[in-house]
């Protein structure tokens, strides 16, 4: 029997109950979130459960939502069950003041550099990571450049009227 999104949802809800929230299906991919304290438990369950078997970490990255107070940073895991060929997206949110999230390096060796990259750009502190330091940027950097408070273009420019282009 093929693994469907409904099966995954019901298995997760059986195990974690109301802790699993934000369940949605966008473009065919199941997406859900859990409290950040539970991220390893959920990943481990997804990995070990014989029916689910999400044992391949496709991608790990972060997103910054400065307007969501208390849950500014999202850490997004893309997981893949290669046998049944199902992909899911799993998110945990954390505040930007206390960006501590447990590391997934014990479960996936591939998480090592991806977490370092996420730390490098967003400052997510992966608790328990064996070597959490900057990877793509220089070690001396003292800010996290992909956060939204660093706009790309100089916002003080006055020679350009963006109203003309409907940007405002």
């Amino acid at each position: 029997m093929a693994l469907t999104n409904e099966t995954i949802t019901s298995r997760l809800q059986e195990k974690f109950g109301a802790e699993i929230s934000g369940i949605e299906e966008t473009y065919g991919m199941l997406s859900f979130e859990a409290p950040k304290a539970l991220n390893l438990k959920v990943l481990q369950f997804l990995y070990d459960d014989p029916q689910l078997g999400f044992q391949f970490l496709t991608d790990l990255c972060a997103v910054h939502y400065p307007d969501q107070v208390g849950r500014e940073l999202a850490v997004v895991y893309h997981l893949h069950n290669l046998a049944d060929n199902v992909r899911i997206r799993f998110k945990v949110f954390t505040s930007v003041q206390e960006p501590d999230v447990f590391t997934a390096t014990q479960l996936f060796s591939s998480a090592n550099w991806m977490e370092r990259e996420t730390y490098d750009f967003y400052g997510v502190n992966f608790v328990g990571h064996p070597n959490l330091k900057r990877i793509l940027n220089v070690d001396e950097m003292d800010y996290f450049p992909l956060r939204k408070e660093f706009p790309l273009e100089d916002q003080t420019r006055v020679d350009k009227d963006d109203q003309m282009f409907g940007r405002g």
Partner: protein, 407 residues
């Protein structure tokens, strides 16, 4: 006896291992890779990779760019097969916008993508040859990579950073010259590939150098997030083209070659076989393209006025076309709110695009899943305990592309 003037670093006589800095621009590494290796004689005890020397903040740049301005960024990821990156990006946009491409576009795209795969594998395999001491193969196959580049040039006008295609299709139809060149390639290349294979595949020296070097088990490769030929060499038949077909790959008949040991030799063989499979796909795609009759034969893009640049002549003569042209060039079209992940089988693994749009004109967040960034972390495990010279071969057989690694 003259006095010796060599000043040894403090404690060097007691230290049994040597620290060797390989890179960042070492002649034996193809690209900017730095490895700080701890050597015991010629054996590698440990290594620490430094990456990021050519980091260009693509993900940040993409947040200020409308969709079309992101395409040239994708060129510069894996620049050995940039058409695949371009197509992957367009597929991501199409998925977000719900654009359905005509079959002819899909097949033409497949021709280009498989040509790109061949040129990517060709470079990788011939570089493995160079690093094991056989320069001939590399020089010989360059001629055919050139032919592939000429085909790109016919289709899009550029060769390396192609910026090929548009959302919904191609910027122009394939010219008869492009098809002529493709036919020439299909006739001449298989013989060259066979000859190239003969130079290496059963070559005693090459086999001795590559068998057993840089081996990884299937379980470890999966745990390390390997994809593409490197994972298949370890014996896992995961191929995005088969698992989640895009661009009508499901219409084609091809095999997924797998290895068993995951060592440098298997990686070489898997890539070599994949080139034959790519040729098979191109032949089928070309036949399918030729089978289109009448108006179907002229289709080279889908009808998406919001994202597909109108004909230049119409821009000069029609108001609506002029408006669309302006809006597209300036990137003034708001995207729908969406969260999309689209993967394609790149030259060296699963190339993923994770796009979040908040309904604005530029992506809210764009993350590239770069396959070689993910599997390069296994490098230390692959070369530990081996010889330094094998470490160099392992590095080239992993098909690491600095542009993709550092993004």
């Amino acid at each position: 006896m003259a006095e010796q003037n060599i000043i040894l670093p403090a404690g060097s006589l007691e230290t049994k291992t040597t620290t060797l800095n390989v890179g960042p621009t070492h002649p034996a590494t193809h690209g900017v890779f730095q490895n700080i290796m701890e050597l015991d004689g010629e054996r590698v005890v440990s290594t620490e990779q430094t990456v990021g020397y050519i980091h260009r903040a693509f993900e940040k740049l993409a947040e200020r760019r409308p969709l079309y301005q992101v395409t040239p960024i994708t060129d510069r990821l894996n620049y050995c097969s940039s058409p695949i990156n371009n197509m992957g990006w367009h597929l991501t946009c199409e998925k977000m916008l719900g654009v359905k491409t005509p079959k002819r576009v899909d097949y033409l795209r497949i021709i280009i993508m498989e040509l790109a795969r061949i040129s990517d594998h060709l470079i990788c395999n011939s570089i493995v040859g160079v690093d094991t001491g056989a320069y001939t193969g590399f020089l010989y196959v360059m001629q055919y990579r050139e032919l592939i580049y000429e085909i790109y040039e016919e289709v899009c006008g550029s060769r390396l950073t192609t910026n090929i295609g548009r959302i919904g299709g191609f910027e122009r139809d394939f010219t008869p010259t492009a098809f002529e060149k493709l036919e020439k390639f299909l006739v001449e290349y298989p013989k060259v590939l066979k000859e190239f294979e003969n130079l290496f595949a059963r070559n005693r020296i090459f086999m001795e150098r590559t068998i057993g070097g840089g081996a990884i088990s299937a379980a470890r490769a999966l745990n390390y997030g390997f994809t593409g030929p490197n994972l298949r060499a370890a014996g896992v038949d995961y191929d995005v083209r088969v698992h989640s077909p895009y661009s009508s790959y499901e219409d084609f008949e091809f095999d997924v070659p797998v290895g068993s040991t995951g060592d440098n030799y298997d990686r070489f063989l898997v890539r070599n076989q994949e080139m034959y499979q790519s040729l098979r796909i191109i032949e089928q795609a070309y036949q399918k393209v030729q089978a289109f009759k009448g108006t179907e034969n002229d289709v080279f893009h889908a009808d998406v006025p919001e994202y597909y640049l109108p004909e230049k002549q119409d821009v000069y003569t029609k108001m609506e076309a002029l408006i669309w042209h302006f809006k597209i060039v300036m990137g003034e079209i708001d995207m729908p709110k969406a969260e999309v992940y689209q993967a394609v089988e790149g030259g060296n693994g699963e190339l993923g695009f994770y796009l979040i749009s908040d309904g604005g004109r530029t992506p809210y967040r764009l993350h590239f899943r770069r396959p070689c960034f993910i599997y390069y972390q296994a490098y230390e495990e692959l070369i530990k305990g081996g010889m330094l010279s094998d470490a160099i071969v392992t590095m080239s057989s992993l098909n690491l592309i600095a542009g993709e690694l550092d993004a």
